[in-house]
């Protein structure tokens, strides 16, 4: 392919990575960054004037729906949406049909991902069928490159099972067990946050304690087993406080938060529009403030979208009958810039850390999030931090339309994305 052989220079941007910030051109050849500095030239140029040049973003939590749910998204369309969002790596969640509890399923996901516009990693199930009882073949999945194990969509409710999974994961280098912290016996039957708004709307709630009770228990299990634990999509002040305390005690606990949990509250459900239905649900003002605080003070390690496509007609059902979940890949960066960087909650560097190199570290990815320097893999994104745009669901690359930000004006947009030295997004358009 001619493109891959061409040398490429990203010109005139401001490079921001874990080592700092500097105005510099970035020269790329044969899939690697060759040089970073002023006045560089190459066979092909990507203009980055006025833009930030960052290591490619990394999303630890994406539902690609393939196999089994291809009417909502495929690996190809999800990866395209990811690339447009500046992501060079994503972790595909295992709640597909069949789920990622079998090496053959994971192998086929990785093969499809290899042909796509993003580096698709696969999470593996903790338990067979995500049923929460018998351990999945974690070792066989680990041999295929799986590092994150989760039953996401479902919580591992039984402490005994979670304990066995944590203990066993200690024998798998780089592995981390990731929990969807929502106790089924407390949350099941609920459709939104249990609180003032669920009381007003007559909709059964999913209480905050469903999350915090599991986080408390699993921090204790992490301590008892000496294993790493990662908490998916944390949404409550109390759970974040527990993670803060666990980290202060030196436990190997990490956490992620989704953009909708630092931008939207349960009040959004007053319209009964299922665009705002998600598990864990949109919560109170105090919880949103706590998520922002957690992002600012290091308690939260990653912004992860929990990109959850659903076919249009399923999100047109009444609120209680619609499936939970929101799109996120194409809006995460812009939402972060608009709601956190703009108002000064985070610096751009801190935001990029949460979107790129810190999630890469959680997942043990060595090819992503690396400092933009000679010898590093050329997985890079170019961001226009000042471009304003309006979210139009019909113009998203995802196969689905269920974004909660429809009609919103956002600031910040990806201009180019480079994957393994090849441009996959140029001037905001995917290359294929």
């Amino acid at each position: 392919m001619p493109e891959a052989d061409q040398s490429l220079v990203i010109k005139g941007g401001r490079v921001i990575d874990a080592t700092g910030e500097r105005d510099a051109d970035v020269l790329i050849a044969a899939g690697e960054i060759v040089e970073v500095g002023p006045g560089l030239k190459a066979e092909r140029e990507l203009d980055a004037s006025g833009c930030v040049v960052s290591p490619g973003l990394v999303d630890l939590h994406v539902h690609l729906r393939e196999p089994g749910g291809e009417d909502a998204e495929t690996i190809e369309t999800g990866a395209r949406a990811a690339a447009l969002g500046g992501f060079t790596a994503i972790v595909a969640m295992p709640n597909t049909e069949p789920p990622h509890d079998e090496p053959s399923v994971v192998a086929s996901v990785l093969a499809a991902g290899a042909r796509s516009l993003c580096d698709v990693h696969a999470a593996g199930c903790i338990t067979e069928g995500r049923a929460g009882t018998a351990l999945a073949p974690m070792g066989e999945l680990h041999a295929l490159g799986v590092r994150i194990f989760t039953d996401d969509g479902a919580c591992v409710d039984r402490a005994g099972v979670m304990r066995r999974a944590l203990e066993y994961a200690r024998s798998l280098p780089g592995a981390v067990v990731a929990q969807h912290a929502e106790d089924s016996s407390l949350a099941d039957g609920g459709h939104m946050h249990e609180g003032e708004w669920s009381s007003r709307l007559g909709i059964a709630g999913r209480p905050a304690i469903a999350e915090s009770a599991v986080v408390a228990r699993d921090c204790l299990l992490a301590e008892a087993t000496g294993a790493r634990v990662h908490f998916l999509h944390l949404s409550t002040a109390v759970a974040l406080d527990m993670v803060r305390g666990a980290k202060a005690r030196g436990l190997a606990v990490t956490a992620e938060a989704a953009p909708h949990h630092f931008t939207l509250t349960d009040a959004a459900c007053a319209s009964f529009d299922p665009a705002f239905k998600v598990h864990p649900p949109l919560r109170s003002d105090a919880d949103v403030a706590a998520v922002k605080q957690g992002l600012a003070d290091g308690t939260i390690d990653a912004i992860a979208t929990d990109h959850a496509p659903h076919a249009v007609e399923t999100k047109e059902r009444p609120f209680e009958e619609a499936p939970p979940g929101m799109l996120g890949l194409e809006t995460a960066l812009a939402v972060t810039i608009t709601e956190l960087v703009g108002p000064g909650v985070l610096t751009m560097a801190e935001a990029l850390a949460l979107l790129s190199w810190r999630p890469a570290a959680v997942a043990g990815m060595t090819q992503h999030g690396q400092p933009v320097a000679a010898g590093a893999p050329a997985n890079v994104c170019v961001i226009d931090p000042a471009l304003t745009w309006e979210v139009d669901p019909s113009r998203l690359a995802s196969k689905s339309r269920n974004t909660p930000y429809s009609g919103r004006a956002l600031t910040g947009r990806v201009r180019h994305t480079v994957l393994r030295g090849t441009p996959v997004v140029v001037d905001g358009e995917p290359c294929r």
């Binding site: 009381s199 009444p318 209680e320």
Partner: protein, 307 residues
């Protein structure tokens, strides 16, 4: 006013006007030919996704008494059972040229969603555990006819499965608009998670409050909404919160007893009490048609005087 989705859609004047209009329609229903041409030519569709013969017939009767053309859709008899979604169903109906849709659905907010998809007036006939505005209206009319048009200061106790009750929410909102004071009386597991948005206070102790109430409104323990799962047993519920014959004796002589129906005789109310002199239960049913006529007339009428 285009839709009736919640009792909170009315302010005090609008509510009192509608109740007065309902009294006028009550007189119409008592005539030999209980029909007026007020809404002739208007097409009203009843779209009932939940089983409810009495409410649907009440609405359809109300529409016919106003000379509307009435179409009736219930789940199972239509393409809904073939998997057609709610949006497609209402848009198909709307394409036939209609003026109002009366929607009953097991999901909160379904009528609100319908209102966002089509042009017709939408009337909420009960949406999940959210609201049942016309039930509250007929309850308020019943109280008004018994106690006079000024309900301010009236002390009302609502007993039972509050958390799952759309009737309770609408009634509390309506009573608050008219200046009455409501207490929710239930075991802790049947109260909403917070009282935010409920202009009422609460207690677990029915016996203590009983002698102070002007109105005792009983809710059915809803087996289909699994209220029984939140209780140790129905027997225990009856012992602690049921309107037994013994408790009925401790009511004030003029305390009114109400129930939205259908009743579980022997659970929330003793059979003898349901038929007793304090009970307004049959009047509630009668008043339903008049109140629904008033709602249809308010939403679809030209504002001219009722015949």
């Amino acid at each position: 006013m285009k839709h009736l989705l919640s009792i909170a859609d009315f302010d005090r004047d609008e509510l009192e006007t509608l109740l007065a209009l309902s009294e006028d329609f009550l007189h119409v229903t008592e005539r030999e030919i209980p029909k007026v041409p007020a809404l002739r030519g208007k097409v009203v569709v009843s779209l009932f996704y939940e089983d409810s013969t009495r409410t649907r017939i009440s609405f359809e009767t109300a529409a016919k008494r106003l000379s509307c053309d009435v179409m009736s859709f219930s789940v199972g008899s239509s393409s809904v059972s073939k998997g057609e979604g709610l949006r497609d169903t209402v848009q198909t109906i709307a394409a036939m040229g209609i003026d109002a849709v009366v929607v009953r659905h097991s999901a909160a907010g379904a009528p609100a969603r319908v209102a966002s998809w089509i042009d017709a007036s939408i009337i909420n006939a009960g949406d999940g555990s959210h609201e049942h505005p016309t039930q509250a209206l007929l309850d308020l009319l019943t109280l008004r006819r018994s106690r006079g048009s000024d309900l301010s200061g009236l002390r009302v106790g609502i007993v039972g499965d509050i958390v799952n009750s759309r009737v309770a929410r609408s009634l509390v909102l309506g009573l608050d608009t008219l200046g009455a004071a409501t207490t929710l009386i239930a075991p802790p597991t049947l109260l909403p998670p917070t009282l935010d948005g409920w202009p009422a206070d609460s207690t677990h102790d029915l016996d203590e409050l009983l002698p102070e109430l002007d109105v005792l409104y009983l809710l059915r323990i809803q087996r289909e909404r699994k209220s029984a799962d939140r209780l140790p047993s129905l027997r225990e519920y009856t012992t602690r919160w049921g309107l037994t014959v013994e408790r009925a004796k401790r009511l004030k002589p003029d305390t009114l007893v109400m129930h939205p129906g259908p009743m579980n005789r022997g659970v929330e109310i003793a059979a003898e009490v349901a038929e007793g002199p304090a009970s307004l239960i049959t009047e509630q049913v009668t008043n339903g048609v008049a109140v629904r006529m008033a709602v249809l007339y308010t939403l679809l009428g030209s504002g001219a005087q009722v015949a």
